[in-house]
């Protein structure tokens, strides 16, 4: 009996093991013409908002907003974000009002039944650069630039086993900003010799959707002026805009972590008290 069972168990393990080796071998074969994307995994960056006590760096968010406004907003909408929420970035009510007034939004119909445009108010959302997604795609070689409101949560390169298990304990939740940063700084690598890059697309080994994408390198050194003396480099721009996009996607991140700390402290103390009570209740009962 024992022998039969042992034998069966061994056969089972051998079969599963050999299948595993086969998968590994198959993946090695794909190195020449990649079929799994991204070609490179994004680098993990240090973000001020990571970890249990993470907070946004307001200066960084303001710089990120500037990048968005001056560069990305030409193509990317951000239509779930209202101007009024920019007060989170450290702006006063008056500053937000003035900022909104630089945009025009459509409103109406008025008393005559006509639609009209007016200056945006703090309650309005960021207007889209294109009237609709078909127009956006037509203007960008067939690929519509995705909306930015949630992009920092809507992208994330798969972490793989066993990293994803460790991520629980390290509280890794920066997949989105890490990816955006990697994408924006990843244009300089040249495609390997012999790799075909489709017309109108740009090689980027960090892109999750393939080997190249319709967006050309959007940032270059010195393109945007910073008033606070931060370096005007692609690296710095990318970090700032990624952090800003994290804020846009998760505006209550700070409140979440602060509430979380209070809740965790309460639960741990409460658990201790309940455990002490439990010990007392059961003290004289063998179990």
């Amino acid at each position: 009996m024992k022998k039969i069972l042992n034998g069966l168990a061994v056969i089972g393990f051998l079969l599963v093991g050999s299948a595993g080796v086969a998968v590994a071998a198959e993946e090695a074969n794909h190195a020449a013409e990649p079929t799994h994307f991204p070609i490179h995994k994004p680098k993990e960056m240090d973000w001020t908002f990571a970890g249990p006590f993470g907070t946004f760096d307001k200066g960084q968010l303001q710089r990120g907003l500037k990048i968005y406004k001056e560069v990305c907003s030409a193509c990317h909408s951000m239509n779930l974000v209202a101007f009024r929420t920019l007060e989170d970035l450290g702006y006063s009510e008056a500053q937000v009002k003035a900022f909104a007034a630089e945009y025009e939004v459509q409103d109406g119909p008025n008393g005559d039944g006509e639609m009209f445009t007016r200056k945006a108010l703090p309650g309005d959302h960021f207007p889209s650069p294109f009237p609709n997604s078909a127009a956006a795609a037509a203007a960008n070689g067939g690929a519509a630039p995705p909306d930015f409101s949630l992009i920092a949560k809507a992208r994330g390169v798969e972490r793989g086993f066993p990293t994803f298990v460790f991520d629980i304990f390290t509280m890794y939740a920066s997949n989105g900003p890490d990816y955006i940063h990697a994408l924006l700084t990843g244009y300089d690598e040249q495609p390997p010799a012999g790799m075909e890059i489709a017309e109108g697309t740009h090689y980027n080994p960090f892109f999750v959707g393939g080997k190249s994408l319709a967006m050309a390198k959007p940032l270059s050194d010195g393109q945007v002026t910073y008033e606070d003396g931060s370096p005007e480099t692609v690296e710095q721009y990318s970090r700032d805009v990624s952090a800003f996009l994290m804020w846009a996607a998760e505006p209550h991140l700070e409140a979440r972590k602060q509430t979380g700390f209070a809740v965790m402290i309460f639960l741990v103390l409460f658990a201790g008290l309940v455990y002490a009570t439990k010990r007392k209740v059961w003290a004289n009962v063998a179990h």
């Binding site: 168990a9 509280m171 979440r256 309940v274 009570t277 003290a283 179990h287």
Partner: protein, 433 residues
């Protein structure tokens, strides 16, 4: 009630007045205060209580979310984001509800594994077990429909793939699929009916939980030894003993739950669901939520035709079969011994089953290609062999270890061989409390 006749005696005039007319306080007292439970229950037995609070938590957060949610394909995604951004503590509600579903499933999986390990399904608890299986099925349906509501890419494509399974059923398949969808493809009618059902099913679960607990209170709980309660010394009163122990387990469980809500709220979700549904853009990999992955792996493992059954129908049958087989477990297990503690071989196969189930879950998240297919097939084979071959055969050929005569004997024996500490601080792992 198994605890003999009622010990409830109301102390106040009002209490006696109510008791003579509608003895609800008596029912509560008999079920949750004086109700006798085995004295040797370990923490694996606390998950029933944990499940109960998770169900309540899901209903409470769900009802408030429903007050802000817009059930229309053009508005659903934006309304969920409005909850996340503008509703007071809306982000908290939503993260509690979405992570709550995952933790509900974590609890139910541990609860089911506890049942399989300690033989909780064996006579006279077959109906109790089957009611549990019905709860589990209802949970799966509720979770699936809930995931469609935010109307993200995975909502849409998950719904498309899963309702597509039904077309594999001969004759009525197409009709069933169209009934589910309210049309020919996932669209506004689908969203409307899923929302209505997602609101309804948790209350049906609550109803079945009442039956489940009723059945439990007729047969009484099992315990790690698998020996039935024989005398009064085998049990302790539910309150304070089980209440405080369940309470401690609940707080610890909630702490882990809170860690996910506040620090890694999107860890268990898929990034694609933060992209609004688009019927023209198919995601590269369509994956269901993690708690369905083992079944998804089983579905995709059947890549070959079996006689007249083509691979698609075969996959669907295997997937439904993998859940259906749970219902007949009480009759598949032939062992006279209930608990795995006394069944060395069953214990080994049980843990292999657990590892295999987790492995299947991982395979479900991989693309169905190359060696993953072969691994899924082997793992699927073990999944079914565990129930259909190992359970019946092992019960007949295995030599169990010596059983103690009673729960009390087992407890005292353990404490003697352990330490002098009366609470049995250094107990064997199976009975540590």
């Amino acid at each position: 009630m198994s605890g003999g006749h009622s010990t409830y005696s109301p102390k106040t005039g009002i209490g006696r007045w109510i008791d003579a007319r509608m003895p609800l306080p008596r029912l509560v007292h008999d079920s949750f205060v004086s109700y006798p439970v085995p004295r040797n229950l370990n923490y694996a037995y606390t998950f029933g209580g944990i499940l109960s609070i998770m169900l309540v938590a899901q209903i409470l957060t769900g009802v408030v979310l429903a007050m802000h949610y817009a059930n229309d394909t053009t508005l659903a995604f934006q309304s969920v984001e409005k909850i996340m951004r503008d509703v007071n503590s809306g982000w908290l509600l939503r993260y509690m509800h979405s992570n709550g579903a995952s933790f509900f499933f974590i609890a139910v999986y541990i609860h089911i594994m506890r049942g399989l390990y300690y033989g909780s399904y064996k006579a006279p608890r077959e109906l109790l077990w089957i009611l549990g299986c019905i709860i589990y099925l209802l949970m799966m349906a509720t979770g699936f429909m809930g995931y469609v509501l935010p109307w993200g890419q995975m909502s849409f494509w998950g719904a498309t793939v899963i309702t597509g399974f039904f077309t594999a059923i001969p004759l009525v398949g197409e009709w069933v699929q169209q009934l589910l969808l309210g049309g020919f493809a996932v669209d506004n009618p689908t969203l409307n009916r899923f929302f209505a059902l997602h609101y309804l099913l948790p209350f049906m679960i609550a109803g079945v939980v009442v039956l489940h607990v009723w059945a439990l209170h007729v047969t009484g709980q099992t315990n790690p030894t698998g020996i039935e309660v024989k005398s009064k010394t085998d049990t302790v009163a539910f309150t304070p003993y089980a209440t405080i122990k369940d309470g401690f387990a609940m707080v610890v469980f909630l702490a882990v739950f809170a860690y996910f809500i506040f620090y890694i709220p999107n860890f268990l979700g898929h990034p694609d669901n933060y992209i609004q549904a688009d019927s023209l853009k198919t995601p590269a990999h369509i994956v269901p939520e993690w708690y369905y992955l083992p079944f998804y792996a089983i579905l995709r493992a059947i890549t070959f035709n079996i006689g007249p059954i083509d691979s698609k129908l075969g996959g669907v049958l295997a997937m439904f079969g993998s859940i259906a087989v749970l219902f007949v477990v009480p009759w598949l297990d032939t062992s006279k011994v209930r608990s795995a503690v006394y069944r060395p071989w069953y214990k080994l196969f049980f843990w292999l089953f657990v590892i295999n189930a987790i492995f299947l879950g991982w395979l479900g998240s991989r693309p169905a290609e190359g060696a993953y297919v072969i691994m899924s097939q082997l793992a699927t084979l073990y999944y079914f062999a565990f129930f259909l071959v190992i359970m019946p055969v092992l019960g007949l050929i295995e030599t169990p270890r010596r059983l103690p005569n009673s729960i009390t004997e087992a407890v005292l024996e353990k404490n003697k061989s352990g330490s002098a500490h009366p609470a049995g601080a250094t107990a064997a792992p199976e009975t540590r409390g």
